[in-house]
């Protein structure tokens, strides 16, 4: 493939997309409005409209928060970690995954705000010299979360934009219509001089090197929201690696869920090939095995600890009132992904797409199970009777979060190069047979 063919093919996605794109956008916007409507009711009425009941005071919103932060992780894995490992197949899928990361963190960041009783006071979480002369408690994992999530959002957004800059410049020089001045502005006036490329490649490498430990720290910090407490089912040293693996697992599933239709709608079949999906599936299988192992270790440690409360919580998790969620979670996250051992499944988009949907569901359930079953079975038997029954408001806001995520993603892939033009061209030069260089 020549440079200009890559350029034309990928910039073609900026033209009017097919009807399915509009159908998708309409559905996503509808879901988003539904969620916004439900949140309006919650904000004006109060948190009572959510199904919280003592002792279960974290529910679907925190589940959604952890879910969306997790979704973000695979994007950084693909764009940064695989970049450092020089896994060249990442090129085709890196841009879409990076964008997914940014939008997933945006979505996740809303949930702590939705979850607090007075969302208009969320800025109390930010440490600044305020009129009450109070500082935030830096020993609290919730404040660590604020730092981790804002850092993650800032760094991944800058990483995404850095990669986009030369591609937006390519779009600027290609499109002729009213969008040209917009692309001109967004490209920052990128020229592509050797001087600019030199700083660009240096910074790109540093961003990858900074994002790699960052991505591991972010979900570790999220896991410490739970693990730093003393609640049975939460208080566990395995939580950080367990959450990071789970996050990457769910994120890879979401990448597959997004890329299968995207490649179809924008006719990117020659760029995002079955080979790429197979590699994603292999990563998904690996992380699924780690997650399955973590589940087993959790049960083993609960038994081995000799703590009757730990044992009680885990017994309750499997055979208590939330048993259906737990078994479904096992099936979606551990049993079903085993099918990826077969090439017939991981090399075929239809079954792979179905597995990825189930993994998304399973990983959402995992967070629900961890949060709700642990809270409902603490040290005080008098608390064990409580049943958490989510209300339609919580359901609507969850649906709305999917609407927001898909709206942002659909708008992105339509208006920006969804595959990195620069990196595809670079990969192309690497694929050429090496000639003796006289330079």
């Amino acid at each position: 493939m020549s440079f200009s063919k890559i350029n034309d093919d990928i910039l073609r996605t900026l033209r009017a997309p097919g009807p399915w794109w509009y159908v998708g956008l309409l559905a996503a916007l509808t879901a988003l409005s539904f969620g916004a409507y439900a949140f309006m009711i919650q904000a004006t009425t109060g948190l009572g409209v959510a199904g919280y009941e003592h002792p279960i005071l974290w529910g679907i919103y925190i589940t959604d928060f952890v879910f969306w932060v997790g979704i973000a992780h695979s994007g950084t894995l693909i764009s940064a970690v695989l970049f450092l490992f020089r896994a060249r197949w990442r090129t085709a899928v890196a841009r879409a995954s990076e964008a997914m990361t940014v939008f997933a963190v945006c979505t996740a960041g809303l949930f702590p705000i939705i979850h607090i009783g007075r969302p208009w006071f969320f800025y109390w979480l930010i440490p600044y010299p305020n009129e009450r002369q109070l500082w935030v408690n830096f020993r609290s994992p919730l404040v660590w979360d604020v730092f981790a999530i804002t850092t993650y959002l800032t760094v991944s957004a800058m990483f995404l934009y850095l990669g986009l800059m030369p591609d937006i410049a390519a779009a600027r020089d290609k499109v002729k219509d009213w969008r040209r001045p917009i692309y001109k502005l967004l490209s920052f006036g990128w020229l592509g001089t050797s001087k600019q490329w030199r700083h660009y490649t240096a910074l790109y490498g540093f961003f990858a090197a900074l994002a790699t430990p960052l991505v591991i720290s972010v979900h570790s910090v999220v896991s410490w929201d739970f693990a730093m407490s003393i609640l049975p089912g939460w208080h566990s040293t395995i939580f950080a690696p367990y959450f990071v693996a789970g996050a990457i697992f769910s994120g890879l599933a979401m990448v597959i869920t997004l890329l299968v239709p995207m490649r179809k709608i924008f006719k990117l079949e020659s760029y995002i090939t079955v080979h790429h999906f197979e590699n994603l599936a292999k990563l998904m299988l690996t992380t699924s095995l780690i997650v399955g192992y973590a589940y087993m270790v959790e049960f083993f440690v609960a038994w081995y600890s000799g703590s009757r409360f730990e044992q009680g919580t885990f017994y309750d998790r499997m055979f208590g009132q939330y048993w259906a969620y737990s078994w479904m979670m096992f099936f979606c996250n551990v049993i079903l992904p085993l099918s990826l051992f077969f090439k017939a499944v991981r090399g075929n988009l239809a079954p792979l797409f179905i597995v990825s949907i189930f993994v998304n569901i399973g990983m959402w359930l995992e967070r629900y199970v961890i949060i709700v079953t642990s809270l409902s079975h603490d040290f005080d038997p008098a608390n064990w009777a409580g049943v958490y029954q989510p209300t339609w408001i919580e359901g609507a806001i969850t649906i709305g979060s999917f609407g927001m995520f898909f709206t942002l993603f659909l708008l992105f892939v339509k208006n920006f190069p969804a595959v990195s033009i620069t990196e595809m061209k670079e990969a192309e030069t690497l694929d050429r047979p090496h000639e003796a260089t006289s330079a």
Partner: protein, 167 residues
């Protein structure tokens, strides 16, 4: 009185462009600016560009972030001493998380700002690149030289395989 001329050579590939840039530099003909659609090691090498100082900014930013990540929580707990959970006021292990995140945050921001500064971005006014195909598939060398040397520059560019040369 035009004493300076700008000669633009357009190449199909990075390698001839790099060779031409090298030859022009060795002949001491004019100031060269190289344009390319992708980062090209041959061209960078031929242009004798040094290692990007972005790394220094990332390092300094990271160190500043790390320092702030410890100093700021320590300042706040001493400013309003309030013991929670029976832990010491200055709980270093807890502050490591803040320091770690700020190391990365400020390192990244500092790297980004230094990149923009050194790459001369954002550059919203001024001339666009001499040819729009440089973001597509062509490599270019723009040579600013004395008017008298223009012919020599043009000859060099053509000799190394420029598909198009214009002044």
């Amino acid at each position: 009185m035009a004493t300076e001329a700008t000669v633009l050579g357009i190449f199909d590939d990075g390698k001839p462009a790099a060779n031409a840039a090298k030859a022009l530099r060795e002949a001491g003909l004019g100031q060269i600016t190289a344009y390319s659609p992708v980062p090209d090691h041959n061209v960078e090498h031929a242009m004798h560009d040094s290692v990007s100082p972005v790394r220094t900014f990332v390092l300094v930013g990271g160190l500043v972030g790390c320092f702030l990540g410890f100093a700021f929580p320590i300042y706040t707990v001493l400013d309003w001493p309030m013991i929670t959970g029976g832990k010491p006021l200055i709980s270093i292990p807890a502050f490591v998380v803040i320091a770690f995140e700020l190391t990365i945050l400020i390192g990244a921001i500092s790297g980004m700002l230094s990149f923009l500064g050194m790459a001369g971005l954002p550059r919203l006014t001024g001339q666009p690149a001499p040819d729009p195909s440089f973001t597509n598939d062509k490599f270019g060398l723009s040579v600013v030289c004395d008017a008298g040397q223009a012919a020599a520059v043009r000859e060099q560019l053509e000799q190394y395989g420029a598909t198009e040369v214009r002044e």
